[in-house]
């Protein structure tokens, strides 16, 4: 009997490997043929990606394609790779992924492309040679201009404001700040930036910085928080100082984290993109790539929901960021 067990095991292995003919060819389908889109978030439970998923499911329904939505339960780059490798052997037509680890996932994506699977990225990009297009939710320019214009509107075109950032060395923050300054100089010269403070991506520290800013600059009219923990942090400082309405707060962050402050009138606006639109556009772009309707060199792409969007090089731009305020924030759950 002892001999039969390893034998059984071998039989099992044989069954896995041999029980069906290998038909792992996956070529790009012609228009009209059934398409399977595999969409991966950084992590499945994240409210941000849950709302992306809503948009992507709507798009899949509108376009009549099959959508597979799967990803790690926590942001786990290794698990992302495993799922991609699974999709390769499953034979999906196109993969759309928000990358947790750029270098790690690019290897798996290149492998997918070698097997004839089309690849796009969204939200956060892979290496350029590992995908065909990146659906970019916001350019640094769009974010910088959006924040500055909103600040100018709230301040009435003049006065002092301060910025709270994550760290003075973070590349993306510095890029945004550059565009904020460019917009201020060209369009809103009446405004004056009096301070730029780092908060190390911590809410507590942002709160402390905001408190210091308010006492150091009594004429401060507005605090602009450009990393997401700093928006509620600054709002809490304003609330505790009893300066609601006198010092306004805007920033780049999730509507859900700021809903309370926005409703209380402490935070005026939260700026971000509509994540459902991001999901929708990603699936549309993926399908268009799979059907070879969207090719390199395109300069625009027409979306059913978002309208005509710009394509710059290999990046599809979602467009201007969206301003969440007292009037509309209730309807957003991410």
């Amino acid at each position: 009997m002892k001999r039969t067990l390893p034998l059984l095991f071998l039989v099992c292995l044989g069954l896995i490997t041999g029980c069906s003919k290998s038909d792992s060819s996956s070529s790009s389908p012609a228009a009209g043929e059934a398409i399977t889109v595999a969409l991966m978030p950084k992590s499945k439970g994240n409210a941000y990606f849950v709302s992306c998923r809503e948009g992507s499911e709507a798009a899949a329904k509108d376009l009549g394609v099959e959508l597979i939505f799967d990803g790690p339960t926590t942001p786990d780059p290794a698990r992302q790779n495993e799922i991609i490798e699974n999709w390769i052997t499953l034979g999906v037509n196109v993969i759309a992924v928000a990358c947790e680890n750029r270098d790690g996932i690019s290897t798996a994506l290149r492998k997918a492309r070698q097997k004839g699977i089309r690849v796009v990225t969204y939200d956060s990009d892979a290496a350029p040679d590992a995908r065909e297009f990146f659906v970019n939710q916001a350019t640094p320019e769009g974010i910088g201009y959006g924040l500055m214009d909103e600040a100018a509107r709230l301040m009435g075109g003049e006065g002092e404001f301060a910025i709270i950032t994550a760290s003075l060395t973070a590349a993306n923050m510095n890029e945004w700040q550059k565009h904020i300054e460019a917009r201020r100089a060209s369009k809103h010269p009446g405004l004056k930036m009096v301070a730029l403070r780092p908060c190390d991506d911590l809410k507590d520290k942002a709160q402390a910085e905001a408190t210091t800013l308010m006492s150091a600059h009594p004429n401060l009219k507005l605090i602009m928080a450009i990393c997401s923990p700093a928006v509620p942090g600054a709002a809490e400082a304003v609330k505790q100082a009893g300066k609601a309405g006198k010092v306004q707060v805007i920033g780049l962050g999730l509507p859900s984290e700021n809903k309370g402050y926005v409703k209380e009138g402490i935070t005026q606006s939260v700026i971000l993109w509509k994540t459902t639109d991001l999901g929708y556009l990603t699936v549309e772009a993926a399908v268009a790539v799979a059907r070879s309707q969207l090719r390199p060199g395109a300069t625009s792409f027409s979306s059913r929901r978002v309208g005509e969007v710009q394509v710059q090089g290999d990046q599809i731009l979602l467009g201007k960021p969206f301003v969440f305020n007292k009037d509309n924030i209730e309807g957003f759950n991410f």
């Binding site: 390893p6 059984l8 099992c12 069954l15 790779n81 499953l90 270098d103």
Partner: protein, 350 residues
């Protein structure tokens, strides 16, 4: 009753072969394969089989070396963290110290062994409970990995020759599968065909008894834990080669997957009873389940959650089913040695 050493074949001689845990588990694996082959999309392809194996090698390796440890009544919760520490130190040695990959690899296995030796020192020398020791080193080794990289540094751009270990094929199997095969055969012989393996069971049944019987209990324990560390180092290499990147979070949670495989494979968590092939089947059952669910069209979108749940259910059922044979054996009118059989399967402290 006399000490020590119930030989595995004797332990369960009262249990008909078709009621043995491993047989039932093999049937379960077979059923899984048949179900997914008929319901799943491209489940039975060679590519997918290679995928399943590729993704299971690290957990398989950890489960294999966990088996002797659990046989002795111990446990090692630190293997996943050792994997993480080894992965980043391998990256560090290769990128920053300029070691060629093979040399960095050898050093990495050495580092893994040292981690295992540290566990062994605390467990065998100071007689501290393995659960507590390895719970501590679970945090310690992961913390070290994070300290080395400050949590953000990642090692990448490894040479193709090294990545072959994780992504290539050798003689028809994924390269790293051969490591698993070698480890499995080696451990199977050690545990089931050598006195060494028998002594591990004896320690699991009764460490004091084993000492009285003159077995070098401490030395055996040291061997088991050092081996676990060394093999975790090997797993760090296959993991890094498969993923192409070494980061401090490598192998997070793998210790629990490995223990799941071992326990599902029929090894008694308190020690004394268990087999290497059972462990392999246990790991295979979980891996095939997780993969198969992602292939069934109606389940694809909830496959991750579902496989966690089903693994749990299978585990509980398997443990419950493990009691059935001994119950049946107990009712059967005794052949020759029913008394000793009953005692050794149900109360192995005999």
């Amino acid at each position: 009753m006399n000490l020590p050493s119930p030989h595995p074949s004797q332990t369960r001689s009262g249990v008909r072969w078709y009621l043995r845990h491993e047989t039932l588990l093999a049937v379960l694996v077979l059923v899984e394969i048949l179900i997914f082959a008929s319901l799943g999309r491209r489940f039975g392809t060679a590519d997918n089989a290679a995928n399943i194996v590729r993704h299971s090698v690290e957990i398989g390796l950890l489960a294999l070396v966990m088996t002797p440890i659990i046989l002795t009544g111990g446990i090692d919760l630190s293997v996943g963290s050792v994997l993480g520490l080894c992965a980043v130190l391998f990256g560090k040695l290769w990128r920053d110290a300029g070691f060629p990959p093979w040399l960095a690899g050898v050093a990495t296995i050495g580092i893994g062994s040292l981690c295992g030796a540290f566990n062994a020192l605390l467990i065998a020398r100071f007689r501290l409970p393995p659960l507590i020791v390895t719970l501590g080193t679970f945090s310690l080794f992961r913390g070290l990995a994070e300290a080395v990289t400050q949590g953000v540094d990642a090692f990448t751009n490894f040479p193709e020759s090294f990545l072959f270990l994780g992504g290539g094929q050798l003689a028809g199997l994924p390269t790293q599968a051969w490591i698993l095969v070698i480890a499995a055969v080696g451990l199977w012989i050690t545990v089931h065909r050598m006195t060494f393996g028998r002594s591990l069971r004896t320690i699991g049944f009764s460490p004091e008894g084993a000492r009285f019987a003159g077995l070098p209990v401490e030395r055996r324990l040291v061997t088991c834990y050092v081996l676990a560390g060394a093999v975790a180092g090997v797993a760090a290499l296959t993991y890094t080669a498969r993923f192409g990147t070494a980061k401090a979070d490598a192998g997070m949670g793998y210790e629990l997957f490995a223990i799941t495989g071992v326990v599902l494979g029929g090894t008694r968590i308190l020690g004394g009873v268990g087999t290497i092939h059972g462990t392999l089947l246990g790991v295979a059952a979980v891996a095939i389940l997780a993969n198969g669910l992602t292939r069934v069209p109606s389940l694809m979108n909830i496959a991750g959650e579902l496989s966690g749940m089903l693994t749990g259910i299978v585990l509980v059922l398997a443990l419950a089913a493990g009691l059935v044979p001994s119950m049946i054996a107990a009712r059967r009118p005794a052949p020759r040695d029913s008394l000793s059989t009953r005692n050794s399967t149900t109360t192995p402290s005999a």
